[in-house]
């Protein structure tokens, strides 16, 4: 082992690893310090430090409105997406084998077809139906984007689950709905919560669809995007920092839950 560790190959590997990490973390490492700048413009490194731009963010009505709008949409979209995706996963589990690939393909399509293309379709539909700048429409679109992930996460947990659990509940006296709710669903809880978190952030940081259909009602990503185009304001750095920290925490939680559900049923 010792000789391997010091071989030129392993030194190169280590170097490659460090460079990759640096590359991936570079944006965060730049943005994080910039957000604590006390200056007027985005500076790196900042000449003076302070929480000025965080205050700016929290006190600005427009920033706040777009943040709450994004949170609201993400919450509803993730609930809708998780409910539909869980039922889809359960349905697929009980579908005739020959039809499963067809349905799986349909459900996963939103994750494969380029978003701009779907967004164009959604935009045309929104114009036809007069649903431009409609939060419910964006909720449904975001729910669609989350669906493939819910289907994959809950579907994987379901495949690990013993299919006779529901039969057991039935034979011991539970009706079909009761058996589903008492036997099939509870062991899927970690996977379902994990799906909720994934779906939430898929909606929360989604830009393209919101740009196409939301018009005047801007979401947080749209606000950041348009600010970046007009003037470089350090508020963006503080918003981004909050965004990054919240996303990292939530995604880590989701991943822990997903792994736990995979291990428990193994």
């Amino acid at each position: 082992m010792k000789s391997l560790r010091n071989s030129p190959g392993s030194v190169l590997m280590t170097l490659f690893f460090i460079l990759t990490i640096l590359f991936l973390f570079f944006p965060i490492m730049v943005i994080l310090p910039m957000s604590f700048s006390a200056g007027e413009t985005l500076q790196f490194p900042p000449k003076s430090w302070g929480l000025r731009w965080y205050r700016e963010y929290f006190n600005d009505d427009l920033w706040r409105a777009s943040t709450f709008r994004s949170l609201r949409i993400a919450l509803m979209a993730s609930i809708l997406s998780t409910a539909a995706g869980t039922l889809a996963a359960v349905g697929l589990d009980r579908t005739r084998k020959s039809l499963v690939p067809v349905f799986t393909g349909l459900f996963l399509a939103p994750a494969i077809i380029p978003n701009v293309i779907i967004a164009l379709g959604v935009f045309i539909m929104a114009v036809w139906t007069g649903l431009t700048s409609s939060e419910p429409l964006l909720v449904m679109v975001h729910a669609m984007l989350g669906l493939p992930f819910v289907l994959l996460i809950v579907g994987a947990a379901l495949r690990q689950q013993d299919p006779s659990l529901e039969n057991a509940a039935r034979v011991f006296g539970a009706g079909p709905v009761q058996a589903f709710v008492t036997a099939t669903l509870p062991p899927l809880t970690p996977a379902i919560i994990s799906s909720l978190i994934f779906a939430f952030f898929i909606s929360f940081d989604e830009l393209i669809f919101a740009l196409f259909v939301m018009g005047g009602k801007v979401t947080l990503p749209v606000r950041i995007w348009s600010d970046l185009q007009h003037f470089i304001n350090p508020t963006i750095a503080s918003v981004s920092t909050i965004f990054i920290i919240a996303t990292t925490l939530a995604m880590t939680t989701a991943e822990i839950l997903r792994r736990r559900s995979a291990n428990r049923n193994a």
Binding site: L165, N167, A168, R170, V171, F172, G173, G175
Partner: protein, 352 residues
């Protein structure tokens, strides 16, 4: 608690154009322990699933007592079941798992508590009530599954290969326990296994299943001593099958040079158990005995017994098993040995 009659009445189950069960008829008496024995794919689970209500028969009917189960959902059939891979609810404690059938039946809390603890005591797991299934060994999980299946005193108890996932020692221990519990509660029991030894030790009667049909149903002794078909003779225990030719009043065994009396006119083989053949002079006189010579090729030590592999004069192999008491004067390899058996121990079978 007294068991109820269970009856399969000409049940068939088709998956596409293969029959998992074909004209399957079986009546299990109240309190009886009947085992469905067959190789994997012979339709045992299909039969049990139809009885439990997990799938519908294509034709025919299943009855518990006098009541037809056609159209009756699982939850209204009042049967207990032990599943092959336990099927314990992973998110519930041992207590809640066992209490589940009682909860569904809206049993009052104090009675539930008493019945659950009685059940857990019966399977020697009273101290484990608060554990989650994940914190139990395989044998303990199977015991919990058993406690859950009987806690509500069902008149009918079903078990689908419920011991096959366990190692041999545990399996034997649980076989005894299941027998004891069956005696205690008296539920009519349908047990499914592919292990013929397990079927013989546990059952009042065994139904040998092959390709969705019952080949023979009898008590273990009859099944072993008087197999009805060539398939049963080969599936249960070990046997010598020797080709024969039908003659008047029986069959002619050319390889041994003897005639076995039989009513069968289509006899094609005889089944002769290895332990029913002895060295000449060891079987007490009085019965119709036939003697012959065979050449010893090999002797294998099996612990309590030894197994001799002989070659008959027409080249057919013959296995003979004897207790170790005779081991001191083992014949030499290559020697011609005189052997004998009672003609009544040879079972004449058709070739199908």
């Amino acid at each position: 608690m007294q068991g109820t009659t269970v009856r399969f009445d000409n049940v068939s189950k088709w998956f596409g154009n293969t029959a998992a069960l074909e004209n399957f008829s079986l009546t299990v008496a109240p309190g009886e322990f009947v085992t469905l024995l067959g190789a994997s794919g012979s339709g045992k689970s299909t039969a049990l699933n139809i009885l439990a209500g997990f799938s519908d028969a294509t034709s025919g009917d299943v009855l518990i007592g006098d009541r037809s189960l056609t159209g009756v959902p699982s939850e209204d059939r009042n049967v207990g079941m032990v599943f092959q891979n336990f099927a314990l609810f992973p998110h519930m404690s041992v207590f809640d798992n066992v209490a589940f059938p009682l909860k569904m039946r809206k049993t009052p809390a104090d009675e539930t508590r008493r019945l659950v603890m009685d059940s857990l005591e019966m399977v020697k797991l009273a101290g484990f009530a608060n554990r989650k299934p994940a914190a139990l060994s395989g044998g303990q999980r199977q015991r919990v599954a058993l406690a859950r299946a009987v806690v509500f005193s069902p008149p009918v108890l079903l078990m689908d290969e419920c011991l096959s996932a366990l190692d041999l020692k545990l399996r034997e221990e649980l076989q005894g326990e299941i027998r004891r519990i069956h005696k205690d509660i008296g539920a009519t029991t349908v047990f499914v296994t592919h292990d013929q030894g397990e079927a013989l030790t546990m059952s009042d009667r065994v139904a040998v299943q092959n390709d969705g049909k019952i080949e023979q149903i009898d008590n273990p002794e009859t099944l072993y001593d008087r197999p009805a078909t060539r398939f049963v003779a080969e599936f249960i225990g070990q046997t010598n099958l020797i080709d024969v030719r039908p003659t008047k009043g029986g069959v002619e065994v050319a390889a041994i040079g003897t005639h076995i009396p039989s009513d069968k006119t289509d006899g094609a083989v005889i089944s002769l158990r290895p332990e029913r053949i002895a060295r000449a002079g060891q079987i007490s006189a009085g019965s119709d005995i036939t003697q012959f010579n065979a050449r010893l090729e090999d002797t294998v030590f099996l612990g309590a017994t030894v197994e001799h592999h002989f070659r008959l004069k027409d080249g057919e192999a013959l296995t003979v098993r004897e207790g170790r008491s005779g081991a001191s004067d083992l014949p030499e390899i290559g020697a011609e040995v005189a052997l004998e058996f009672r003609k009544e121990d040879a079972v004449v079978l058709a070739d199908h």
